[in-house]
């Protein structure tokens, strides 16, 4: 395993570049998994600096890379990387707090949508609210 600058982890087995996002990995100790060949590595970062590892490990990955590229530079997606973060629970209700209205009660696109909810990149209900 060779370490590039900072939080980029290049797998010696498959040359995949695993981009370990700074926020979740800034202070992290545990297993991560190469998005190219599923090899598990134990790493420890303190304040963004690698202080131990990466060493071959077993078990499951505690945290996946945020993004990865294979040796040709093609992006690796799907379940090999950590998905985009979802809304976290509102601290008072314990539930995700999606909204469809702004603080002053007007239409606002603040909730997950489906493809059929869109016209191009625009939410239909926002378009309709202007008619």
């Amino acid at each position: 395993m060779a370490i590039n600058q900072g939080l980029v982890l290049t797998c010696a087995k498959c040359s995949t570049k695993n981009f370990l996002d700074p926020y979740p990995f800034w202070n992290f100790s545990g297993n991560t998994k190469c998005a190219g060949c599923d090899t598990l590595y134990a790493v420890k970062f303190v304040k963004g600096q690698l202080v131990s590892g990466p060493t071959a490990s077993s078990g499951k990955a505690d945290l996946l890379p945020g993004y990865a590229e294979d040796k040709t530079g093609a992006g690796i997606g799907g379940d090999k990387i950590r998905p985009a973060p979802q809304s976290r629970p509102d601290p008072f209700s314990g539930k995700q707090k999606h909204v469809k209205q702004s603080l002053r009660g007007k239409p606002l696109s603040g909730s997950p949508l489906k493809k059929e909810d869109l016209v191009g990149s625009r939410p239909k209900f926002i378009i309709d609210s202007r008619k």
């Binding site: 590229e69 976290r88 999606h98 909204v99 209205q101 702004s102 603040g110 997950p112 949508l113 869109l118």
Partner: protein, 447 residues
Amino acid sequence: MATPDFETYCQQLFDHKTAPGKPEVLKGIRVLSCTQYILGPSCAAYLAELGAEVIKIETPRRGEPMRHTTPFNEPLLFPLSRWVPEAGTGLGFFGANTNEEFVTLDFHRPEAKQAMLELASKSDVFVQNFRPGTFDRWGMGYQHLSKVNPRIIYQWLGGFGGWGPGRVRASYDILGQAMGGAFGITGEAADRGGTPAKHTIWLADYWGGMMAAVTILAALYYRDTVSGKGTFIEYSQVHGVQRLLEYSLPLYGRYGVRRERWGNWDTELCVHGIIQCGKSSYPDSQNPQEKEVGYILVSAHTDEDFKKLCDVTGRKDLAATYAKHDDRVKAENQGILYEAIEAWAKDKTKEDVATLLDKAVINNQPVWNAKEVSEQPHWKMRGSVQWYDDPIYGDLHHQGPAFKMSETPPRLKWALKPAGADNERVYGRLLGWSKTTLAKMEEMEVI
């Protein structure tokens, strides 16, 4: 005809509601923004507020990382892109991507390089803030773009500059502040904990963006009036923070003195600092944030104002003991004075304190939170904070441009768009891509 008084004159001249009917000063300038997070994006956004046509180029489907970063991932604006409608863009994206057009392009692909060179050949400015040398490696550095467009202004922003032994690291706002020396003078004094304080707003990023925007304008001026040629501009975020250090370095150079942290007070003036008030402004609120006690800035450093402050607080003994500013400003005495003022404010809200100080004509300002900033008639009237009807996301609350221009006012047209929202318009108009080409590029995930 009589001239109006200054207030009326300014109001008529600068009313932000009249901005849409006036020309834009940078109209006709096209900017390509391959930027992420805040440092690079804010540079492009400042130009877009002034009317430049800014095309933001992001990773296909997911967009750039800032869309996924802050704050606490909730509430988000949906959709993230037409391909990922179930996810959204975090509100941290606000303020750094104003008025832009949004396209997607995977920089790693050969097709992308060709598209980028074609776009650059038709643009005035190129902004990017990837690690040093990354765009050169991809064949999109200044050396490459200036061959297809010798007039292009190429702005690269990074942490440490493009050359020198310490260049190859990633930088963030907090790192810029730490390395630049800001934390050495910002935070609590040694006898009050001594910890540095990060500026919560991304000051090094937004300041760096503004510095870069100013430099781009200078380079455009030089190109269009003197040389006819482009410029390669390098901006170091750390250097930008160093530029803010005021007299710290001259002081060190002359005496070897290291300027130190002094918290919410002032090393040169006393009383001139922020004090805690013991009561919440919203005692009946169920919101824990509003139950917190308040703070207020008190400025009474002249002998006259200090005497008035002592009268208000019932501490005439302090007026006698510390009648001279030279005594008040001493480090050991500042603690005594601020402690006495906070003891007086312990059973008061920040508004109570403000009322009493206003009555005594002593300069003060309660420390406002976002709610209080949003509700002030003065700033609403001036368009500094405003609700606006966003064509995609709906009803948004946002800060307007920070400065006014009588003839060519900056303006807020929209805050952001989903990733790739303008693919058809931009690639069709500028590169002549047909519907078939667009579909093919999308299928190949080039865009």
